[in-house]
Symmetry: C2
Subunit: 342 residues, 2 copies
């Protein structure tokens, strides 16, 4: 079905429900599509005999799957809209189907516009789930303009070639040695920023929503974010009490990393608490008044994207190593989640 | 240990951890005690060899137990502070110990003060977990003043005689036919309000925190809340689309009630969606723009206590029956959670 500029293959979900005779189905919807909930429910209830339960809690990615609490409510099937699966994650509770929201925007115009801004000959092509299906068209344009498009394989956390997540840039890292620059198709700053910080290559953003190209602005943003990160580390120099945040969502549980961090801190005579959260909110953390600095092992976006929401500095595991003098600022690394033992 | 005017038997928790050689322990702390988190952790880490993980997500009662996600992080024991167990609930994932926070306030003075305000001879004595241990003292004062104290048994959801929860007043209902009035020991308005609405008996509040007695004010509050509830029902008279809210916390899952409500609504030609939430927040519900009225089957306090936070009316299951003409306003019942099949 077509909703708000996205093709969402709910037809396939309905087929699967009918084929397996599922009775109670939970539907996870990303924030941007939640105001279309009635269309999704009406379609599924018309096409199948299943009862649909909508999960209201915010869902920002495939790392956040429904759990046994839904199984306990006799839910026998889960549909997560707008995200692609994380291959090395498994839902032990309820069979789960991920249905991507493919943008129907024409990317050719904005890619043509990006052509004169590309650097070098070999161009690494990356995008988020919504635009991956446009890669063949983009490759064609690149070749026609005498570029060599390169699309990398990701690790176990990545479903499709050339796909990057906010927490995983392996599909770019696998080709960064061989390409001269990256072309990112999509919106927002977080993904291209990570791309630039991790690969240290020129990144050109072609945004099909605004039909704009960004490259220089990204360099400025990178500098400003690095200044902010440096500031967060500096503000925490005298911190005595640390709160190590662990996400309890299935695909964010870096508990072993949290224990490693705790050991490091204790060996440096710091106090450290391990704090587990499902939903991240600055107000939930404000109760922990004696914590001087939080270290987030959950979604890497929390420390960097949501930094301004938190009164107490919140840093990433790599940033802690810099703070403790175990790494140099020059060795700054963007936080990523790679293979989790699930 | 003594914290902020409460006796919290963390010593017993430490003993249990040592005896069972538990390695990773999750600690749930009610909001009011979270700023003492370091004292709890320091004590447990000094007394035992266990690693302590603090659960940050708000925990308002024993209905909210930690689940398999902590088990997956190899947590082998859970401690929930400030609440008493709900006997008919079981944690299938992690052995869980509830440690009450017993207030060390002297209740005798405020009970003496309440004596002239008590109605009749037989007095039903009720309280929340924090003050239950003071019942023998209170009974003595009542007897000395020629009253007959009566303390009722609750149902399967209630651990101690005379204990009421925001969602369960069975320990008062079991004696309401035989008593002339109720004496409630504790703070806040929600429990005595429920008590008054459910038992329809005079309720006298003896608040040991403020050392004040309230009775008439409670009648005024009851009238104002009932006006608000009537208003919420009236505002929803023309509602076409209903959102039936289901709490996914283990002790709040009234999913069968939700399906019953959906059937009722569909039979009245209304549209109804079942919406499941873990953490309730008005902002999470605002995405569901075409919902005209929410019906909460989760914690009964949400519809009544948090009513003002929600832009769309939020009503209880009984209030829906009134809205649909299946019950009269005169038959208004306060929403309660009784035995859940868990």
């Amino acid at each position: 079905m077509k909703i708000n500029g996205y093709n969402i293959d709910l037809e396939n979900a309905a087929k699967t429900i009918k084929k397996n005779n599922y009775k109670r189905v939970v539907l996870q919807i990303p924030e941007g599509l939640k105001n279309h909930v009635s269309e999704f429910i009406n379609y599924l209830e018309t096409e199948t005999n299943a009862q649909i339960i909508v999960s209201v809690d915010p869902c920002f990615g495939a790392c956040d799957i429904v759990n046994h609490e839904f199984q306990h409510m006799d839910v026998d099937f889960a549909i997560q809209l707008g995200h692609t699966p994380i291959p090395d994650m498994e839902n032990h509770w309820i069979p789960t189907m991920f249905i991507n929201a493919q943008s129907d925007l024409d990317v050719t115009k904005v890619v043509e516009k990006a052509i004169p801004r590309l650097k070098g000959e070999k161009i690494g092509l990356v995008s988020t789930a919504q635009h991956l299906h446009t890669f063949p068209q983009i490759e064609e344009i690149l070749v026609k303009n005498n570029f060599i498009p390169v699309i990398g394989e990701g690790d176990d956390r990545i479903e499709s070639k050339g796909q990057i997540l906010g927490c995983n840039f392996s599909a770019a890292k696998s080709i960064m040695q061989e390409v001269d620059s990256f072309l990112f198709i999509g919106s927002g700053n977080f993904h291209p920023l990570g791309l630039k910080l991790i690969t240290k290559k020129p990144v050109i953003v072609a945004d099909p929503y605004t039909n704009q190209i960004r490259d220089k602005e990204l360099g400025e943003l990178k500098d400003s974010v690095l200044r902010q990160r440096y500031g967060a580390i500096a503000r925490s120099k005298d911190a005595k009490v640390f709160g190590i945040l662990v996400g309890i969502k299935s695909g964010q549980q870096r508990i072993d990393l949290a224990y490693n961090i705790k050991e490091k801190l204790v060996s440096k005579n710091k106090k450290a608490y391990i704090l587990a959260l499902n939903h991240f909110s600055s107000s939930f953390l404000e109760s922990f008044r004696d914590v001087d600095c939080f270290i987030s092992t959950a979604c890497p976006r929390i420390a960097i994207d949501d930094y301004m929401q938190y009164k107490t500095p919140i840093i990433t595991p790599v940033e802690l190593d810099i703070l403790l003098g175990l790494k140099n600022w020059e060795d700054y690394l963007f936080d990523e989640i790679n293979h989790l033992v699930l």
